[in-house]
Amino acid sequence: MNEIFSQLLLGFEVALTPINIMWTTLGGVLGTIIGMLPGLGPATGVAVLLPLTFKMGPVGAMITMAGVYYGAMFGGSRASILLNTPGDGAAIATCFDGYPMTQKGRAEAALAMSAVASFIGGMIANVAMVFVAVPVAKFSLRFGPAEYTLLMLFALAATAAMSKEKILQGFIGMTFGLMISTVGLDGLTGVNRFTFGVLELMGGVDFLIIIIGIYALGEVFKSFKSVHDPSFKMQTKFGKIKFTKEDWKRSWPAILRSTPLGFFIGALPGAGGTMAALMAYNNEKNISKHPEEFGQGAVEGLAAPEAANNASSVGALIPMMTLGIPGSGTTAVMLGALLMLGLQPGPLLFQKQPEVAWGMIASMFIGNIILLIVNMPMASILVRVLAVPAKVLYPLILGLAFIGTYAITNSIVDFFILIGFGLIGIFLEKAKIPTSPLILGGIVGATMETSFRQALMLSDGSPKIFYGSPITVTLIALTVFSIAWPFVSSGLKRLKASRSV
């Protein structure tokens, strides 16, 4: 226990230096702005803003990227509340009661409550992370290549099996991502695979480019539809951003209930912010004494998902930071960005570079406070970004996407890959293939293949290494369970429905 506190203290020493406070603020504010824009969430923010961190050094870069990540979670709710257009998936549930509040002339209260709920959710989840991170990291030191292979398989399967209707599409996306990760020079044998003689492909396809292609280019192309929509107007004059005592009395229990829920869901692979927010919302609606007010501007219906999605974004960082295995598309992008910066998240990060790992954790406490300040008194200034016509903003995002790509790889070949994946992004949307499994597959693919082959080398080719230990058997069981669960749960629902009739 003392060890944790001394490490956390070290983290605060790092995070409280003026330059790092500045990076935290910069990351948080930029993340908030990107998060506000409809369709663009933390994944796009991290990918597009990555080049900004190239000169910062590992600590500064990590702190800035984390700031962008949770800043985008703060910002995602602004557009939900004011425009009824979620900034990203996790902010969908915020529309349900946030927008009705705006329609009733209570936009100020909604903005204030969402900032405070996000703040509390994020802070409590940070405290939980401080205590969970080290034990998880220590436990995972027992993992060998076979355990890692199965752990990644579990994370992938859980993400791909998120919805029963799209389960095949999810696995197709995942396999496609894994395939892309095999392009390039094979590290273990030195054979070129799937490069078709193109020199630039020898180093592999940079997955950050694919992310920028799908999330930035693809989303902007899709949004061309809405830029001509004249109803896309929002309130630009605000009173004081605050809520009433009555609002607070109704909301705080909802916030406290939704935070642990969000944190837990976030830490699980596959689920993530969207699910956490929707579950928190439904949960509050079910236990409320006046469920009929939900959807009509009930303030607790806004507070619950906001607390849950911020808590889940912190929870989602745990597997990524401590195991080096992301459990969602967004944290996969974070992992890709950190690898690009030469940082390898995982148990060894806590041992070898504690100032990076703990500096980031400590900076998240500071960042939450900064974002509360930014999002309360200054909210009316920040949301003006939303009033900038979409017709100007979206073309600029295209410009940022290209410059970001060039800064990452310095090569024009990647421009064509970028455009190609922008097109693929449109196709994925039309064909209803979820993007998260594809991104996750692409980012963990190379590591998974290496672990898989190393495990087989260790065992002289015997597959028994994958089911010979308690840890591997547990992981296999979890994987099977996560694939079967959507079917089991819908079966149970049907059973319940037929009984009650």
Partner: protein
């Protein structure tokens, strides 16, 4: 032909082509001679099976097709035309990026895309935004962040 059917067929095609590509890879001269082949062949096989299942499921569930489940071909909508033009502009941008240098190529590209969505109205805004953004980003990246961007070939700035 529904989207699901297309997805299934494309997945099968990719699966088969990818497996075949992996199968015909040269053997490694050091390390395990076939280690780099088995894993991708497995992936290709899985992809083929997934595509096959999706196609078969779609074929069996025929009947209740709604309009959104199938792609519409023929005349491009305004939205589709704008996307197509934006992609053409993007490809053009990739082609002139090196020869014209960052600033000029970006002014042209952003100008084109802004014109595409805004049309003839607010032309001054279009020009102003394109120029300010290009110059601003150039200064930010190459002066402050030290990332080398292609310079303008003639003026060398």
């Amino acid at each position: 032909m529904t989207w699901n059917m297309i997805t299934g067929l494309v997945a099968m095609l990719i699966g088969v082509a990818y497996s075949w590509g992996a199968w015909t890879l040269p053997q490694a001269s050091f390390g395990s001679p076939t280690g780099h082949i088995i894993y991708p062949v497995m992936l290709g096989g899985i992809m083929t099976l997934l595509g096959l299942s999706l196609s078969v499921r779609e074929w069996l569930s025929k009947g209740k097709a709604d309009a959104k489940a199938s792609p519409k071909f023929g005349k491009l909508t305004r939205h589709g035309r704008e996307i197509a033009l934006a992609i053409v502009a993007s490809v053009g941008y990739a082609l002139v990026f090196k020869p014209l240098g960052y600033v000029i190529s970006t002014v042209l590209y952003l100008g084109a895309v802004l014109f595409l969505v805004n049309g003839r109205e607010k032309l001054t805004r279009t020009v102003l935004v394109a120029v300010l953004f290009s110059v601003g980003v150039y200064v930010l990246f190459s002066v402050l962040l030290g990332i080398q961007l292609p310079r303008m070939p003639i003026l060398d700035i």
